[in-house]
């Protein structure tokens, strides 16, 4: 399958992240899965007229286009003209080019939350009238419309994330190429379920602190970031703490809160991103599928049961109190 990758209202970070894929030879891996990169803005030789000629061939349907990957939001402004991004050398709004290519492509793939939902580019007053390919925030629509289905019988595949994990992109492309991705494999906002059916909370190294509601109050402290620091890991759909980033990382492992960057509308949560909004001292964003009263009751109980080790380590940048080693497990009592 050939793959055409275009960028519009985004930062290019999903492409840069893709290059961090763990394989020994990323391009070799894709080629082996039957994926031929027809053009990518960061990687290909063709430039200027050579690219415009190639796009025209796909737009006119003279050559089949298998995978159309779009990175970055689609900018419909100003006044519906698409003029905030006209593809260099063409004078044409990128929105027009993407709309036309999407009708030809077998599969259309939104790489990153900007292309999926509008993302960070749609923040604030959304000056550029940015939207995703098939969504505007969580609402169906976007550039291509809620009912869009590509020639291959799929809606837009939303590899959401800001940026995307390289594994999400490679696995999605390989699954498509090998015929293993169907509409049933996407969640209700179009994300591949192989990573969106997980929560960032799963595998979080701060889990013991979460269990005891032992919370960090300042950056660099080891405690749970949910109570004060804005963490949305218990509600954010992604496998960031089981499929790690750059070898051994994740946002939580980097000491900062999950801002739920795989979710539609994450960029405007209505509160400062590094603070947890609360009502009467209770965080309003509790785990989605847990009765609030139980959460509060369990929280109160676990707080009163918190070991000194967990309580003190939670508000320190280092291990102040190591685990008790006076009674090694496995020895007779």
């Amino acid at each position: 399958m050939n793959l055409l990758w275009l960028q519009s209202g985004g930062c290019g970070g999903c492409s840069m992240s893709l290059l961090c894929h763990e394989s020994a030879d990323l391009f070799g891996l894709l080629a082996d899965a039957g994926i031929e990169i027809a053009w990518h803005p960061s990687l290909s030789e063709a430039s200027a007229d050579e690219v415009l000629d190639q796009l025209a061939v796909y737009e006119r349907g003279e050559q089949p286009l298998d995978m159309l990957c779009i990175e970055g939001a689609l900018l419909r402004g100003p006044h519906g003209s698409g003029g905030f991004h006209r593809l260099a050398g063409s004078g044409r709004p990128m929105t027009e080019i993407v709309r036309s290519l999407a009708q030809r492509a077998r599969y259309v793939i939104a790489v990153g939350s900007c292309a999926a939902y509008g993302g960070i580019t749609a923040a604030g007053a959304n000056l550029t009238d940015a939207c995703g390919l098939q969504y505007e925030d969580h609402l169906g629509g976007g550039l291509l419309g809620a009912d869009f289905v590509s020639r291959g019988g799929m809606p837009v595949i939303n590899i959401a994330g800001c940026p995307t994990h390289p594994g999400w992109v490679v696995d999605s492309l390989m699954a498509l190429s090998l015929g293993q991705l169907t509409p049933r494999d996407l969640d209700p906002v179009g994300r591949p379920r192989f990573y969106a059916d997980r929560l960032v909370h799963h595998g979080c190294p701060r889990n013991e602190f979460y269990e005891f509601k032992a919370s960090a109050e300042q950056p660099s402290q080891q405690g749970c970031l949910m109570e004060h620091m804005g963490c949305k890991g218990t509600r954010a759909h992604a496998d960031c703490n089981t499929r790690l980033w750059n070898g051994s990382g994740s946002c939580l492992r980097g000491g900062f809160a999950c801002i739920a960057c795989t979710e539609p509308g994450f960029e405007e949560p209505g509160h400062p991103l590094s603070q947890t909004p609360k009502i009467a001292g209770i965080p309003i964003g509790l785990p989605l599928d847990m009765p609030k009263a139980w959460f509060v009751a369990l929280g109160a109980l676990s707080k009163s049961a918190t070991p000194r080790r967990v309580r003190e380590n939670a508000v320190s940048f280092r291990v102040e109190v190591p685990p008790d080693s006076s009674k090694p497990p496995g020895m007779k009592p």
Partner: protein, 478 residues
Amino acid sequence: MGRRIVVGPFNRVEGDLEVALEFEQDRISAAYVNSPLFRGFEQMLIGKHPLDALHFVPRICGICSVAQSAAASMALAQAAGLSPCENGRICAALTQAIENLADHLSHFVLFFMPDFARADYAERAWSVEAVERYKAIAGSARREVVPARTRLLETMGLLAGRWPHTGSLQPGGSARPIDASERLRLYALLRGFRAFLERTLLGDALEAVAAIDSVGSLRAWAAAAPRGDFGRFLRIADDLDLWRLGRATDRYLSYGAYLLPEGPLYPGGVWDGGPRPLHLDAIAEDVSHAWMGGDTARPRDGSTVPMPDKPGAYSWCKAPRLAGEVVEVGALARQVVAGHPLARDMIRHGGSVAARVVARLLEMARTLPEMERWVMRLQPDEPFCAEFELPQDADGVGLVEAARGSLGHWLSIRRGRIASYQIIAPTTWNFSPRDAAGQPGALEQALVGVAAGADRRAPVSVQHIVRSFDPCMVCTVH
């Protein structure tokens, strides 16, 4: 007027880029650089909580992401009257340096060198080798370079959670403490990257490369052994005379890079035939040829108001000027200002494509040994982040060096919220349009005089000149 062509999209730059070229007597007589994408980060930030900037600004750019974070955290620290703790400063310097080295590597091998594998050069003696090694996507260099970059960026998994778009950099230091075992893993990863650079990219010890002090000794060094990809580039550069291609203003700016407790590793300033002090108040952005409203303003007083139908405008990019003058930024500027003898010798007869590329490779060789020492200075038992309170009303400026040059953030906080946020990015300097006085930007100057190609397309040397600046277009307009 002679013929005029519009060239774009330029790829292997970060973002989208269009250049209009006018020709007279088979030479480029004028160039007009258009940054065709506008997103509006400066407006987005107005009214937000000041710490939200730490989540927004890295997302301006997927390749200068940490540099953006560092500039914001520095501006916030200055606004809060805060001095980051020693560990925090070292972590900030390390993460910035890692990003810059990774960017230098991907620029050189993935963005810049593939143009020498073009059919235009099929007759050259080095063509077969260039195609085998640097051909876009297919070339053999990628099998060594991409994994080496990936391994280097595993340091970011430890120091910053991930790359790009980390939230670890904080006004008080770093949110990510490093323990004794992690310090060793960081050191081992940097040593592994050193081995790759010495074996594959540079073909000599980093210290030996960093000690090259003139163009003459560079040539002698390159003649003495194969010297890896650096040597391959130097042979091409001599053959195509890239030393006399792409001269811009010969006036250089650096804010200074890697601010350690004892001071910056590469001191900042201005070079204009000799070292000059930098007066920040002399920086102003002209909007005469940008699709922007308002007048020329210093960034602390600036605004960003798009005017898509503005007559006479041809780019979304404003035109920053230093005391009314065009300056060039980047690794060459940084090393010239910091006083490296090879960098200064390379610009003796004017800046060039070759000088810009050599400066990046030189900078990798100079910086990595320092980074190895910084890692070992981290003290796991000392704090990594100073506590702080944000003021209700304050101003701050954050000045850093991204891989591709000087990046500045100007922040105003009023009643606890961001009242103004203005950004001047490296490529805003290098790829600015004309100003009210008609002065072309640095790239616009660098393209003038280039010989036209045989057909209507832009000559391939235009590709080299454009990419020699390592442009980042998503930062340029933001």
